[in-house]
Symmetry: C2
DNA sequence: CGCAGAATTGATACATCTCAAGCTGGGTGG
DNA sequence: CCACCCAGCTTGAGATGTATCAATTCTGCG
């Protein structure tokens, strides 16, 4: 069954929650008006697949609310998450027809989509869009490289701590709370999704989460609600500089 | 001792070997003329560090010839390669002051550098540059994600096979040979660099190279010169689709 | 209440790491 | 020209971290 059909309305960009962070962030009102003509909303339920790797993709778009994952799968079924899509993140690649990865909605998801052809044309004529997209892509590239260090060189415990630090930091930045001392947030991922993110098995994830809890690095209320009593302690466990790095 | 000082001359862009692939690929002759004003060449010897992570970076640029690596290092010394820079690849990030990674010349290296400030200004006024840089960044992002699958989910043997396939494919594409059947190339990396690339130890790299040789997947002449008698066999060993994927 | 998906925990297997010893080939100095 | 040297590489034996297989235990929900 479909969710509320707010999805079919196309609310004004001016009230959009991701207006200042998404690919349209630099656009002025004239440019926004052009985008409004080619935009439409789509909703997905938790668990639904937005797009399969290899499928033809006739749109690009932004995550407005909810969370989605980008995953790659080998023939024998091994899967690796290669991206975590949060509100304002961009999906799809201008200039390419097929999707390169599976995109799956982890929670209920709303996307602001643009038909691909007209969007590509706008990119040629509207430097603000291409400029913002470049900036966002460079940020994603940095995140991917950070992640490569996690996957290639960190232990299971460090991997879990790194993931919790990333999610905690993001949550704090959304709420503009300070990223120090006590942090509280909800895990948006199942143990299995965490495992796919970190290149581990779900059993190992479970064990290491338990270990971090036993050692007082984190506290759990239920399976998903996490309290970090001392964020710098978590960063130590992640093997990161306790100051949180220069690039964030 | 310094290498040949062709480096200090600034040859014309029209004869540049990476003219059609680098960040300037889409520029017309007027735009090239502007770039020529802010460009200069720098040479590095094999083993030299081009830039240390965290250092201030007052230029961006392209690899003209030779190979460099992008690596990240943890406090305790664990290192992970996060990028392999080949001719035409771009170094540096417009809009950022410090270098995010160590850049090290693996072979003798020539770079075409642009002073950062003027380059950033040109990016604003010259859409062709920003467009090409976006395209290149998206390609790098795809490569990074491919690599994440390798790091997170492949076995040591598959990792080695994947690396050999990547290098072999690149070499074939430079020589515009077909990527089928028999392939011959030189490894541009030491066993240790391969290990840093793949998130392994150098001993494991050595063992798996020996195993692939023993099993007839590759032949070695010396330590670095590799013959792959059957490229599709190598792809199977890498755990990839034997057709080589859709995205290349 | 009882089921199903998610998570935890345990026992064991195995891949890769670690530590250690030796090999190889190209360069250098006697 | 030979002997030596040294970085890069190979190989071995044992330690260790994570995967695998297999029960349970939670938790939310119809």
């Amino acid at each position: 069954m479909l969710t509320h059909d707010l999805s079919l309305a196309t609310p004004d960009c001016s009230g959009c929650p991701i207006r200042h962070r998404a690919v349209c962030a630099r656009c002025d009102s004239d440019e926004l008006a052009l985008l409004e003509e080619i935009k439409y909303y789509r909703s997905f339920e938790a668990g639904q697949t937005v797009i399969w790797s290899g499928d033809r993709m006739d749109f690009v778009g932004s995550v407005v609310s909810g969370i989605a994952t980008l995953t790659q799968t080998m023939e024998d079924g091994r899967t690796q998450m290669v991206g975590l899509l949060l509100p304002s993140d961009f999906v799809g690649r201008p200039g390419r027809d097929g999707a390169a990865y599976d995109v799956v909605a982890t929670s209920d998801l709303v996307m602001c989509c643009f038909r691909k052809k007209p969007f590509e044309q706008m990119m040629e004529t509207t430097p603000h869009i291409a400029q913002r997209l470049l900036q966002m892509t460079l940020d994603e590239l940095d995140a991917a490289r950070e992640w490569m260090l996690v996957l290639g060189r960190k232990t299971a415990r460090e991997k879990i701590a790194s993931l919790l630090a990333i999610i905690g930091r993001r949550d704090a930045s959304i709420q503009s709370t300070s990223v120090q001392g006590r942090i509280v947030f909800d895990l948006p991922l199942t143990r299995e999704a965490m495992a796919d993110y970190l290149g581990l098995t779900l059993e190992t994830v479970s064990r290491q989460v338990s270990a971090l809890k036993r050692d007082g690095v984190i506290e759990l209320q239920g399976k998903r609600h996490v309290t970090v009593p001392d964020f710098s302690r978590l960063l130590e466990e992640a093997g990161d500089d306790a100051d949180g790095g220069l690039l964030v």
